[in-house]
């Protein structure tokens, strides 16, 4: 059983990446930060002992990142401001 400290660290990283995805000016950077958020969510689920959920999250993270980037290329607009 991994320590609660490690779990808290992962949740903290999730908060950091999630917030930077929200506030990033560049939409591509926002997508990459969201991908990183998804990755830390995977690590969190693994730490909690749920490999099936972690696997699903990993795969869905990849697919949604692809969707976002394809949609971004379609929009022809790099930044949110």
């Amino acid at each position: 059983m991994p320590g609660a400290f490690f779990l808290g660290f992962l949740v903290f990283l999730m908060a950091v990446t999630g917030l930077s995805a929200l506030f990033a000016r560049d939409l591509l950077a926002s997508i990459i930060m969201f991908s990183a958020f998804s990755y830390f969510a995977v690590l969190t689920y693994l730490t909690m002992g749920a490999p099936d959920v972690a696997f699903t999250e990993a795969v869905v993270g990849v697919v949604s990142t692809t969707f976002f980037i394809v949609a971004l290329r379609r929009m022809k607009r790099g930044s949110s401001k």
Partner: protein, 254 residues
């Protein structure tokens, strides 16, 4: 406008406080006395292997004990994909009205645009392994490894998306958007059909044990689980490809 923003901030702060108070009352993650691990979990842990033949509790619960819920989830995925494709295609029609699209410009992938041999070669090595891993996840899902229909479908879809991204719409390893929609429907149908089949044999919906085969009950359950997992895999894979196709095609037309 200012008032609305202040109201939104207030709602967010109140919700955060309520959630933090609620989180404090949750049982600890590994607590054996928590409600989640006292009532039905023991039965799943003790009986699921002999009852369903599946070494993975998660697969046993998802595909056997709670098979009806998973049918609902599969239908939701199919419906959501259908709705996304309909929305994207109607927007694309409105966009391209009056514009002539040169045919040569439409099916160009990344490799032609950037002309890199690196992408080409890397994709050639990656795609077979990703596909094989997708099938392995489907087959190994019930054998104690994490995995199952949903993950397998997504991994297989990733293989095809890589091929689409690198080689463009004319890729040899590709499923077109229309075919993907049909396959998604077929996947959902396979799942529901397994349930109807058990009804026809005189059992309850998705009661695998009723199948008139010369097998033990656990083997019948394994067979039923395999059937619906194949349906879920097809549905998830085809839905992801259909959405990707609708998004990417829109980009190529404009």
């Amino acid at each position: 406008m200012k008032f609305v923003r202040a109201g939104a901030l207030l709602v967010v702060v109140v919700m955060t406080v309520v959630l933090f108070i609620g989180a404090g009352a949750l049982p600890a993650i590994y607590n054996p006395q928590s409600p989640a691990s006292t009532h039905v979990s023991d039965r799943y842990i003790e009986k699921s292997v002999e009852e369903t033949g599946s070494l993975n509790f998660v697969t046993a619960v998802l595909a056997d004990y709670r098979g009806y819920d998973t049918l609902g989830e599969t239908t939701v995925i199919f419906t959501a994909g259908l709705a996304a494709v309909v929305l994207l295609r109607s927007a694309q029609k409105a966009d391209s009205r009056g514009k002539k699209v040169p045919l040569a410009k439409a099916g160009k992938g990344m490799s032609e645009r950037f002309g890199t041999i690196v992408l080409n070669t890397a994709a050639r090595f990656v795609i077979p392994f990703v596909t094989l891993y997708g099938v392995y996840v489907l087959v190994g899902g019930g054998e104690g490894n994490p995995g199952g229909g949903f993950q397998s479908g997504a991994v297989l879809a990733i293989a095809i998306i890589i091929s689409r991204l690198v080689y463009g719409e004319g890729a040899a390893f590709n499923i077109s958007g229309d075919l993907a929609l049909i396959l998604a429907g077929i996947g959902t149908f396979i799942y529901a059909f397994v349930g109807v089949l058990t009804l026809l044999w005189g059992g309850n919906f998705l009661e695998y044990g009723i199948a008139p085969f010369l097998m033990s009950a656990a083997e019948k359950h394994s067979l039923g689980i395999s059937g619906i997992e194949i349906g879920v895999t097809l549905c998830v894979m085809a839905t992801i490809i259909a959405i990707f196709d609708a998004l990417a095609r829109k980009e190529e037309v404009s």
